[in-house]
Subunit: 120 residues, 2 copies
């Protein structure tokens, strides 16, 4: 773990700890505060994923109509390289970012294959 990651994580800890002290929170309340932030972020992630799958569904229909294969390894390689770089800048573990993208792409290809078989 690089010093940059640890600094960023300490900044978040300090933020929640500062808020807890100010509001006279107990230790349990601190965990609750962390979880409220996680829940907010999860809601944002779900809504971004919903938008992403709307677009990939359109791509799937486009590919089916154009006779293109569901998977595109060159495009995937470019996406992996780009997201690993973005993850490094955002202080997110690059391996995790790649695993996340591969999880999403696998789901998308499954959807594209369904579309090419004419299934909804």
């Amino acid at each position: 773990m690089s010093p940059r990651y640890i600094d960023a994580q300490h900044a978040v800890t300090d933020l929640v700890e500062g808020a807890c002290k100010r509001d006279g929170m107990t230790e349990d309340a601190k965990l609750t505060a962390y979880r409220e932030s996680i829940d907010n972020i999860d809601a944002a992630l779900i809504h971004m994923l919903a938008e992403r799958f709307k677009i990939t569904r359109a791509v799937g229909e486009y590919k089916a109509a154009a006779g293109l294969p569901p998977a595109d390894p060159e495009r995937e390689a470019r996406q992996v390289t780009r997201l690993r770089r973005l993850a490094a800048d955002a202080r997110l573990d690059e391996e995790l970012a790649e695993k996340f993208l591969r999880f999403i792409i696998e789901e998308v290809i499954r959807h594209h294959e369904r579309i090419q078989r004419g299934q909804p």
Copy 2:
């Protein structure tokens, strides 16, 4: 696939198709336009994930200090129920939302276990 999902996806397709016609784009340019939107969404997802993992790292340190176990099945069950509901509202496949959350939680637990073993 419910009519709601299909309507939402057609709205996106129409949006990109409208922009393509207006700008005199070829079919290849349409695929490029879809991919630019996907790339923007992926950047947003990576940055939200970076924030989420900063907070779960702090939770991991809190749990290690308080002697709490890395996993919390009751909390996970509440998260799954909530995210499935949010996914349904956002017209995202609920199964996919649950698989996504479980992917993230598995990574988080792995991180928490590392922290409890005193590894960075």
